[in-house]
Amino acid sequence: MSQIETFYEVMRKQGITRRSFMKYCALTASALGLGPAFVPKIAHAMETKPRTPVIWVNGLECTCCSESFIRGAHPLAKDVVLSMISLDYSHTLMAAAGHHAEAALQETIDKYKGNYILAVEGNPPLNEDGMFCIVGGKPFVEQLKHAAEHAKAVISWGACASYGCVQAAAPNPTRATPVHKVITDKPIIKVPGCPPIAEVMTGVITYMLTFDRLPELDRQGRPAMFYGQRIHDKCYRRPHFDAGQFVEHWDDENARKGYCLYKMGCKGPTTYNACSTVRWNEGVSFPIQSGHGCIGCSEDGFWDQGSFYDRLTNIKQFGIEANADKVGMTAAGVVGGAVAVHAAISALKRAQKKNQEKVEG
């Protein structure tokens, strides 16, 4: 273990031919939006750079991120990254268990101080001193802080780590808190989604390992290459949106024709992700293609934006389930009614005054 293996060596050990390796480099380059000139660069980096260790910790989560990750479209990506991760620390994937696992974590931290990447799946609950999520006999938040202390960078996998997801939905009884609110002194990359797309996950890791730096991030800290556009911007049903052709009811004629799902509450117009381009399950499909609107799973607080099937968000602060239109129309109705009453009284008063003036005059 004195000499850290390169990615290429790991790949070759797994019986991957050089030809397949070059294909992988080309695919990754195009997935990252890089030109053909970058293919040899990626190949070179993978051949020469010692691989960066990754520690993968799991807090409050459902493991859908891991499930997505091991289904990467390109088998090489997952093989490489998985073999790399299983060497170090990952609850779901590593062979070690119990004290051995915890020892492996500590060993990796000590050995690669300041050089490893910390990948976080799920988030820490902070209520009751973090007792709602115990890992190795300690609250997860302690493990997270400990592992993050010497990390080079932190990846927040999925909506849980990035924004809180379902366990942070109102009223958030365990006070589940996204990673960036607990770890404030490290560069954090958010890769939201419930789960994120496998190719996006492997793409982000490959980019970081290849170029030794974080990918370009947007204002919210998401990799711009995958989260720079909305689902809506690249949706293949967009022409029906512009034409004003919408699915009116589930299973109606328009639904069969594949019209826009905007009226069915599709959150595509407010969701930044790569689903409509990269798609899922090796590019087979994505929710809208299957006839269901986007639920906005890669957006902050997507559980708390009312129904998945409403275009206008319910506003619970008004006590009853109401949306912006109902609130507005009620307010406008009350004001309109008040105006009508006021106008009537004004007219009466005026008539009265005129009468008086006549009498007096």
Partner: protein, 246 residues
Amino acid sequence: MASPSSNIAAHDVAPEDMATVSRQTSIYVYEAPVRIWHWVNAAAILVLCVTGYFIGRPPPSMQIGEAVEQFVFGYIRFAHFAAGMVLTVGFLGRAYWAIVGNHHARQLFYVPVWRGHFWKEVWFEIQWYLFLAKEPKKYVGHNPLAQLAMFFFLTLGGSFMIVTGLALYAEGAQEGSLTHLLFGWVHGLVWNTQRLHTLHHLGMWWIVIFMIVHIYVAIREDIMSRQSIVSTMISGHRTFKDDRPD
């Protein structure tokens, strides 16, 4: 053409008008840019409210032709964006005129909260609207209550709609565009832009409420107050119906 008309107050003056006709005065209050802005703004708001409502709640699907041949929702959105840009430019122009125009042009952009006298007059206006005061006061510009309402509904409400609207527009314009550069920061305040849609939609109703009150009050004041209101926004001149001191 030289006639002794200078002695006549008006050509069609009736005997019963003689007592007041020559003494009624008018003051030039709203300069042309203010009046033009008012009506352009009103038209833009009308377009924005109608199209904005449809964007949140689209009209029934239309089957004029194939999707390539029809652009119904696209036109609705275009009208909304175009009117929004007109409103924005108009608002900036109006703000500029507040600086270079006459002092009435400034009323929209501040509330003299520090003046006790102002609040006293606001209270008086409220009494007038509650039918407690017998007669309203005369004002050359906006009365204090109107100034307060316009500031909160139109100046603040309008600014809110412009900022949230441009932030939503920036989503379509995407990162790297000027709009995104200038207004993308708003996304960071709400995190999930679905919230921005909801806020912008509520803002529309805020403006609708203003419209209802504004039109009602303008007409009511025109009839019941001691001064002109509606015509002032057309001619720019404020005329008074009596000469009694306030």
